[in-house]
């Protein structure tokens, strides 16, 4: 393809998908999760011991402080994101409500899987998420984050102690539900790895789709606009 052909025959249509609050939330959330993952891993497997007087350093204290601060940002952000699902545009509620009751959802999901298996020649065209992305976002991200927030606050409430709202709202029922504190820690670790797997797949899929599919992906999360590389209508009717 030479450049002059592209500029003459190609006209891009665009849809406004990600509203500014969603984009802002996405990037704040991404940074907070990165901080949480790194500090969380270090809390589970601490760095080599520092020497000197105990009163001279506060290394582990800082690691935990960062973890708790980032956790509050994610938790507050998530509450806001749920609120925005109600007041925002239709795309804002897509990851919360995958239309699993629709036959077409599953049919298109199979097509998306075939596209990833490199069997289907062309992916379908979506202004929002494709069905596979919607489902993975819903199961691994939405429920993953809810799980991490609930177990995280349960563990945090152990430190703030009985009588604190974290303890009363979370620890008091989560710890007996899992059996005991150690099991909650164990599941919080497993949740961490689920999020890590999600992040790997999420970033890879975003880069790959941006290059290989028929619509913009990465730039959309900066600008909010989804642009298409061909003139055909989108396969999801919005």
């Amino acid at each position: 393809m030479s450049a002059d052909i592209t500029t003459t025959s190609h006209s891009e249509e665009a849809v406004y998908v990600y509203q500014a609050p969603v984009r802002l939330w996405h990037w704040i959330n991404a940074i907070a999760i990165l901080v949480l993952a790194v500090t969380g891993y270090l809390i589970g497997s601490p760095p080599p011991a520092v020497g000197g007087e105990a009163s001279d350093s506060f290394v582990f204290g800082w690691i935990r402080y960062l973890h708790f601060s980032a956790a509050y940002i994610v938790a507050v952000g998530f509450v806001f994101r749920v609120y925005w699902a109600f007041v925002g545009n239709s795309h804002a509620r897509q990851i919360f409500l995958p239309p699993v009751w629709r036959g077409s959802f599953w049919k298109e999901l199979v097509h998306e899987v075939l596209w990833y298996a490199m069997i289907a020649k062309q992916p379908l065209k979506y202004s929002g998420h494709n069905p596979l992305a919607t489902l993975v976002m819903h199961v691994m991200f939405v429920w993953g984050i809810i799980f991490m927030i609930v177990t995280g606050f349960a563990l945090y409430g152990e430190g703030t102690g009985m009588g604190s709202w974290q303890y009363e709202m979370f620890s008091s029922w989560v710890i007996p539900l899992f059996g005991q504190s150690q099991d909650v820690h164990t599941w919080h670790h497993l949740g961490f790895w689920v999020i890590v797997c999600f992040v790997i797949a999420h970033i890879y899929a975003a880069v790959r789709e941006d290059i290989m599919s028929r619509q913009s992906i990465i730039s959309s999360m900066f600008s909010g606009w989804r642009t298409f590389r061909d003139g055909k209508p989108a396969d999801d009717d919005h």
Partner: protein, 358 residues
Amino acid sequence: MTETFYEVMRRQGITRRSFLKFCSLTAASLGLGPSFAPQIAHAMENKPRIPVLWLHGLECTCCSESFIRSAHPLAKDVILSMISLDYDDTIMAAAGHQAEAIIEETIQKYDGNYILACEGNPPLNQEGMSCIIAGRPYLEQLKHAADHCKAIISWGSCASWGCVQAARPNPTQATPIHKVPGLAPKPIIKVPGCPPIAEVMTAVITYILTFERFPDLDRQGRPKMFYSQRIHDKCYRRPHFDAGQFVEAFDDEGARKGYCLYKVGCKGPTTYNACSTVRWNGGLSFPIQSGHPCFGCSEDGFWDKGSFYDRLTDVHGFGIEADADTIGGTAATVVGAATAAHAALSAVKRARQKGGES
């Protein structure tokens, strides 16, 4: 008429001065204000001693061993006089038929008014045949005593959670007291630990005696005053934890300096007990103080959670046992490798298509 505690204590040669000292010490150990000391004294002077039946099921007697070492109050001088310990086969003078007769006598005489203290738990398999007391399954003795008691104290991790005899695969189906089917629905207070701290045991009894009710319990039925905080929350090595100073191996410089035992598997952060405040042997020491990590003996199912030196529970069902980080790390590696492979294939496919187009 039954003697009051005070009368018994005086008879045992305890001065009024010592008695009042004991009352204020007990108030302090229960976390009550000084104004409660006279209330405790008043209760002890006026209330009849509560009869206690102390039954032993599947257990190792470490609860009794701990109990008799209580320093504040001294078990010998005070507690064994405060309560009327009618039956405890380990420390009672009577034996055989005489001893067993006391159980029936107490049940008839104090129907609905005695405390049933359970050390150990009953096995349910083979109709309880794995634990026979005086020719009958302990299960029957327990149910019979529970039918007529006022309340039940589950001493130790055995009675509270099941402990070692209930560890996988639990061939005798040893079952903690609150899960025994068909047991009379009496209030149960759990005092877990293997064994529980002596002062915690005597304090629980003193509280019940003084206020004629259980202390506040948490959701799992443990007295909040001793089990509402983790060992970690009041650990004297906590500053080393916050500073990031850890023992890396049991014989390293950090171990000698008394650094935090977190990295050698201390379960203080997941264990609810009063060891780091009340301590053991008259407040002398506790495991972490002697350089060994806490292994969480007062937590539910502590035998079945993998290594005593690992802060994560082993996850079964993967063919081999693995901890959460091994499983997660493997999963992340697989996802990462799959992603890389997929990316390589995608690149080849794209290159081919482009090759076809041009």
